[in-house]
């Protein structure tokens, strides 16, 4: 069946008024995990929705859409940001890294090529439901890049933008500090 607007409208509401044109789609080029992709996006599309709904990179999660939970954390030019708080169109000239780009994982799902933080999260059982996990891990990568965290207390403070409702915080801190400790100290 070919659906037109008319067939679905109740008859008492005639669409006599002109249609409302909203933001039209336009080409937007994003570089995600090293791959350049051209998408057709309305300018009001957030980076988070672009990743999830238009590129099907659903590893990046939506927990609030308001910058309040950190589930959508990705790396933009190696800095952690909330993907729900930026528009895709603003990120055309940046390098975006999502959870899918952290490991060189192939289809065989061998865990040997995991990023050290991914490995540590598994070993320390730093999650339960796993929904906050990609955001936590991307945030932790950003944290290590920043190089400000020296102690477990620093990690707690600097990871507090990522909510975990399952309450896996002790495991998250243990996982991150274990990777911190095994890294050569660069100041």
């Amino acid at each position: 069946m070919n659906l037109t607007l008319g067939t679905l409208l109740p008859t008492n509401e005639s669409p006599s008024l002109p249609a409302i044109q909203t933001a039209t789609r336009q080409p937007v080029t994003l570089t995600v995990n090293g791959v350049k992709t051209e998408l057709q996006l309305a300018p009001w599309t957030s980076l988070l929705d672009a990743l999830r709904e238009y590129m099907h990179l659903t590893g990046t999660k939506k927990g609030c859409d308001h910058g309040q939970c950190g589930a959508c954390t990705v790396l933009v030019n190696n800095k952690r940001i909330n993907a729900c708080l930026t528009l895709a169109i603003m990120q055309e000239d940046t390098q975006i890294t999502t959870i899918e780009g952290l490991s060189s994982l192939d289809q065989t799902s061998s865990s040997s090529k995991l990023h050290p933080l991914q490995r540590a999260f598994i070993d320390h059982d730093a999650f339960q439901c796993g929904y906050c996990t990609p955001g936590q891990i991307c945030s932790a990568v950003g944290l290590l890049n920043e190089g400000h965290a020296k102690t477990a207390d620093d990690v707690r403070e600097l990871m507090s933008g990522n909510i975990c409702r399952c309450g896996a915080y002790p495991g998250i801190v243990a996982a991150i500090t274990s990777v911190m400790d095994s890294q050569p100290t660069t100041v």
């Binding site: 659906l3 709904e53 659903t58 859409d65 589930a71 865990s111 598994i122 796993g130």
Partner: protein
């Protein structure tokens, strides 16, 4: 071969979760998907006079708008809308009519080609209401408290037992008495994953015509399929509900939620695939832990023997369903007072129906009770731990049954030792670190060890791998992992060669995953199915020429290292692969149903227990409270995987901190609307709030609860935590805050009042 069960193994779904490969309900890619966005009522009670959708319809890319005016005909009777966790009453039906029963009620669904368009068009819908005055305030309506209606749900949530002895007289005569009122605000589950359903509509591929594949956020695919089938009158065979990963549940996904109804409705009408996702704000229109007011009175003789106990409570429910939970009767399970009286009532208000939320009723009631016990300890001048030991019971006094196992004494001992409780100076305000007051508090926790029937299938495939399945859920609890462990052990197959599948209505049926019963319930079914495969393998082994098993019985064999072996001499073995080959190269499969042994179980009380010790630091100037360390010592039968079980207990402890100190859904009663409906305003712990949390699993043997001897650990972690924190706050400050959460304003106000009155 070493056993897998009992070992702290990594999650089998770990790699999927850390790489982003785990797909949740809103993450299944479908061709030509439409997006639905829900519009919510802005009034609390009344009627929609008119709903203006014309502007929204003019937005290019809008496919349809559903309201009560154009909703298709659906099932008529309430019964069709009753899901497996429905309380007595008439379930809420989205878009049923013009009536508004609570604030934020879904009143329209906008369906568009993109999410952004649907969201935008939703803002153009205008609604004229006929408002009526509403009542949402528990305190202002306490005179309306009444007994709840009885229904199916009452089976699991029985009303309080009759009074025993003569409470009034015993209390009057008790030399030491305490009586206080405890007030808890309501709380929303707020799992991190937003509620979503993706309904894939297909036509023509199947003889029957239409087919719905539904990816739903649910703690029970069976519950979702029943609901969809009944409400929309779609035969089971045309629906499949799938839910491999659930981004947290905590009870919120026990009942089918609005988005499932609306997504199916739209897909069926439009004959297209539709996804509906709630916003975080809309998640505050779902069920919640109800606000309660409780009174606890305890009487004791001067040596600390509790003689009289009273516990009553009133909780909020909606106008259309009598939601209840077991709040006030836990004292009868923990203390052997002879004269007791329990009462429990509800008040119908113009709000959504509450829902089970992690340790429903248990954490509410035990918090009040265990705070009262602490108050009693201070009145007696007795150590709170000693008081609990003085009143230890080996029986559940409410049903007069002995516990199938109860290692609470050992929990107390080991927890106290790990925490250093013996060094505590009982005097309030006696410990300090510079400008912070330090307090130590403790409490007991208790929860049920349920067991329900379930089915599972096990298939030993031709390639020697074992596929096991049951339509249960893993909401972060570790179901995938522990079921894989159980199956691997039962048939002696390495875990890498076992694949456990769940969350799919094509699999053997299992009940909703809640109440800490999944390990026991589904675990027993998995074990039974694997054993049934084992018996078939045994029969094959006997038939082999010159079989060393020809003359032995099934009870004489065991399975280990991919072979069937003689128990007496495990070196005598036949590899499983040989047996599969003997099966004509066909897989060996069995489906089993595990049913609780009621005859055996009925004779015992079955519960998990915990002892919780907490240290808090309270800033004297600012009134801020931090839980600096906590030890929870748990007796929950056999622990299948100490790593995932520990995570569950830690999660529960974090929830306890949250309930005691942070979270509350604050309603503006003038509007009947929750004011803090976002994760910025609704406070849950962040990483910086959580410090040292320690978990001890006390050994507890139990062959009555179920064939596995497990009791479940999903709820017990939260139960004792809030009371232990509140008691520690008292020890630190000398102030009893009986209204949760204990926020700085409450502490500071109490401090000022105390100073001005002293």
């Amino acid at each position: 071969m070493t056993q897998y069960t009992g070992r702290p193994l990594n999650r089998v779904d770990g790699v999927d979760k850390v790489t982003g490969k785990a797909n949740y309900a809103a993450e299944f890619d479908v061709q030509g998907l439409l997006y639905g966005y829900i519009v919510n009522s802005t009034i609390t009670k009344g009627k929609i006079r008119q709903i203006h959708t014309d502007d929204a319809r003019r937005v290019e890319g809008i496919v349809s708008i559903f309201t009560h005016e154009n909703r298709p005909k659906l099932a008529w009777f309430d019964l069709s809308y009753k899901d497996q966790d429905a309380p007595p009453g008439s379930p809420f039906r989205p878009l049923r009519d013009a009536q508004i029963q609570f604030n934020g009620q879904p009143i329209a669904l906008v369906v568009a080609e993109t999410f952004e368009l649907a969201r935008y068009a939703a803002t153009l819908i205008r609604v004229d209401y006929e408002q009526e005055t509403h009542q949402t305030d528990l305190q202002a309506n306490r005179h309306k408290a009444r007994k709840p209606a009885v229904g199916m749900a009452t089976l699991f949530k029985p009303p309080p037992p009759d009074p025993r002895g003569n409470f009034e007289e015993a209390f009057r005569n008790a030399p030491v008495q305490v009586a206080s009122e405890y007030v808890h605000g309501s709380e929303h589950h707020n799992p991190m994953e937003l509620f979503a359903s993706t309904v894939v509509y297909e036509k023509g591929r199947y003889k029957s015509g239409e087919r719905y594949t539904i990816y739903d956020k649910t703690q029970g695919v069976t519950n979702s399929i029943l609901y969809v089938s009944q409400v929309f009158n779609i035969p089971f065979k045309d629906i499949r509900v799938i839910s491999p990963y659930v981004g947290g549940g905590f009870g919120s996904a026990l009942r089918p939620q609005h988005q499932l109804f609306l997504a199916v409705l739209a897909a069926r009408e439009l004959k297209r695939s539709v996804r509906v996702t709630l916003t975080r704000q809309q998640m505050f229109t779902l069920g919640y832990r109800p606000a309660t007011v409780q009174t606890v009175a305890l009487g004791a003789s001067s040596d600390g023997t509790m003689t009289a106990m009273y516990h009553d409570g009133v909780a909020v429910t909606s106008q259309f369903e009598d939601y209840t939970e077991v709040v006030t009767t836990w004292g009868g399970l923990l203390y052997p007072a002879e004269h007791v009286k329990f009462d429990q009532k509800i008040i119908s208000l113009d709000v959504a129906t509450p829902m089970d939320m992690r340790a429903p009723g248990g954490v509410t009631g035990v918090t009040a009770l265990e705070c009262a016990v602490d108050e009693l300890a201070y009145k007696l001048g007795m150590d709170p731990l000693e008081l609990r030991l003085r009143n230890y019971t080996e029986r559940n006094m409410n049903n007069d049954l002995t516990y199938s196992s109860k290692e609470l004494r050992e929990c107390f001992r080991r927890g106290a030792e790990r925490f250093g409780w013996a060094k505590r100076n009982p005097e309030p305000r006696s410990m300090r670190k510079e400008h912070t007051l330090v307090g130590w508090g403790m409490a007991t926790g208790i929860w049920d060890a349920f067991h329900a029937p379930a089915r599972a299938e096990a298939v030993l495939m031709v390639n020697g791998k074992l596929r096991v399945s049951s339509a249960t859920a893993d909401i972060g609890t570790g179901t995938y992992t522990i079921m894989t462990q159980i199956a691997a052990d039962t048939l002696g197959i390495p875990m890498e060669d076992v694949l456990f599948k769940l969350g799919d209505t094509d699999l053997p049926v299992a009940p909703i995953a809640g109440g800490s019963w999944t390990a026991a319930t589904v675990g027993s079914a998995v074990k039974a199915a694997c054993e049934a495969v084992g018996e078939k393998l045994f029969k094959l082994a006997r038939k082999l020429p010159n079989s060393p098993f020809a003359k032995v019985r099934f009870s004489d064999v065991l399975f280990a290292e991919k072979a069937i072996r003689l128990k007496k001499d495990p070196a005598i073995a036949i590899p499983l692969q040989t047996l599969i080959d003997a099966n004509g190269g066909a897989a060996v499969r069995a489906i089993s149903t595990s049913v609780p042994n009621l005859l055996k179980q009925r004779k015992y009380a079955r519960n998990t227990h915990s002892a919780v010790f907490v240290e808090v630091e309270v800033d004297e100037d600012f009134g801020t409270v931090r839980v600096t360390r906590a030890v929870t010592s748990v007796a929950a039968g056999r622990i299948l995987n100490p790593k995932t079980a520990r995570s569950q207990i830690i999660g529960g402890m974090v929830w306890g901190i949250s309930k005691a100190l942070e979270e509350e859904s604050v309603m503006d009663h003038q509007f009947g609307r929750i004011m803090n409906h976002s994760l910025a305003e609704y406070h849950v712990p962040v990483n910086a709030d959580i410090h040292e949390l320690d978990v001890i699993f006390v050994e507890e043997h139990d062959d009555i609860v179920n064939p596995l001897g497990v009791k479940g650990v999903g709820e017990i972690g939260i139960v004792g935590m809030p009371a232990a924190i509140a008691n520690a706050v008292f020890h630190a400050t000398g102030i009893r805050v009986r209204t949760l959460p204990i926020t700085l304003d409450k502490l500071l106000t109490a401090a000022t009042t105390e100073v001005s009155t002293s």
